[in-house]
Symmetry: C2
Subunit: 318 residues, 2 copies
Amino acid sequence: MNHDVALIGLDWGTSSLRAYLYAAGGNVVASRQHAWGIRQLPQGGFPAALCAITSGWPPCTVIAAGMVGSRQGWREVPYVGVPADSAAIARGMLRVDACTSHALWIAPGLCRNDPADVMRGEETQIIGALAQRPDLASAYFVLPGTHSKWAAVRDGRIVAFDTVMTGELYALLMKHSILGAGMPAESTLPFPNDAFARGLRTARDSGAAGVFSRLFSTRARMLSGQLAADEVADFLSALLIGEEFRIAQLRDGDAGMAPLYLIGEPSLCQRYATAAVYFGYAAPTIVDDAAAQGLWQLAAAAGLLAQATFHSYFGVDA
Amino acid sequence: MNHDVALIGLDWGTSSLRAYLYAAGGNVVASRQHAWGIRQLPQGGFPAALCAITSGWPPCTVIAAGMVGSRQGWREVPYVGVPADSAAIARGMLRVDACTSHALWIAPGLCRNDPADVMRGEETQIIGALAQRPDLASAYFVLPGTHSKWAAVRDGRIVAFDTVMTGELYALLMKHSILGAGMPAESTLPFPNDAFARGLRTARDSGAAGVFSRLFSTRARMLSGQLAADEVADFLSALLIGEEFRIAQLRDGDAGMAPLYLIGEPSLCQRYATAAVYFGYAAPTIVDDAAAQGLWQLAAAAGLLAQATFHSYFGVDA
């Protein structure tokens, strides 16, 4: 099928690279994914990865977001401070002289002070979610992952956000600590399960002292037989996810109890949705395709689409 | 010099083995240390380590405490529940048929329920501290380390305790996480320093949300230049130690503000003493030689000294 295509979008993170080819109206006509995150690039580095993942696609303008704009990325793009909307993010974009026929623009991440915090890539996903659902002009987004982000949006602007290192801590504790020693690194039980529920209860009951004060109880429960070896992963997952909700409720109070919107891996979103309901939230909505939509929105806000040359593409890999 | 010796004590943990040879009155006349923790035993295992570390010493009765009594130890000795005094701990000791000329007794650890928690080895140190300082019959002990213990003692009995995985988390975050990536794993600055002070302040200011909610700020501060590379270890150390004090104050309230007694590595105790004062405690007292004294006390409580055969020892390695 023939398409007029106008833009290539790259969601380029630490461990993976996703590429989207857009038709003139913003629909994704082809997408590709590879493990070429910025820490595991092919020979030839960033330019080689870009050429390879867009191989056979027309020479459209390229917009990239995520860790590709970090100090360890292709080019460091300075953070934009919150509050920020898509226009502010677009103004922070930098053009890179890529050694290809493509014009390449890299989007900035966002920063906040007091407490100091940063994001790269999630801002683009939130912009994408807002575009899909204009009713979300004011909403609370949760983006679970290695470094989970909780972001408040008002009137289309990201006004504040907080990071909790949940995914990274979970992986460290399962792989390297006494809690996960000798255990399978991932849950092997059907979800939801009783171990996850007990972990959420332990997190909630930790009160103001918090989950740090209960982490070692995982070990004590294993020793006393209250927690089976195959339950450790789910219990610990629930403890750490529960800690995010405990923190959010203390930080945001009732205002933070607005419906939540989840963006991320479906199985991880399911865990967060279960935790949200346990902590008294309405069942969250899971938003799909946020990165692809966000890249398109930022390109539009930056005026890249207005200047775009349209190319004909006979899609074979859509 | 000639001694009448009566007992050998072993403080046998995960990563090290310390042996003490006691004169009839309880004075240590010789001590040895080796890296033969229960996870790094010499060929021949536990018996070989015992023979080697007591080589040349008379065939006294041996008492051991610590991880040697765990499921991964020489023999699992069931936990004794709190509250417990030295007599209750002594009643829980088990005799092991060591393939040596020694009679070997292994002390139990302590457990508590709700929240589930366990210790092995620290109970012996606390008993030793109490024997040295009878005025401490009621006191609050902090034993910093891989798994820090906070233990309340009333009338000579350990009534409650809590574990925080501070040392293990610090090592994991410095070695394996994005916060410590590329940093020296240990502090290289003189102590105390400004990075440690800022970490304590960040921990205290985290309030009820807790330090988990501020962990990623370490990264954000590094990126913005607020935290230099050589300050990361001290900042993170203070964050995690500060979290222990934040938890303790929320858990124990004013009752927990009694003077603290610290048992552990001197440099680590210094960090905790600094944190204690920052969090409003009186300057803590650091207790030395707690394990050696505790082993002697438990042997006495178990009646091992009453039955002991005294041997002559011409000390050469005291």
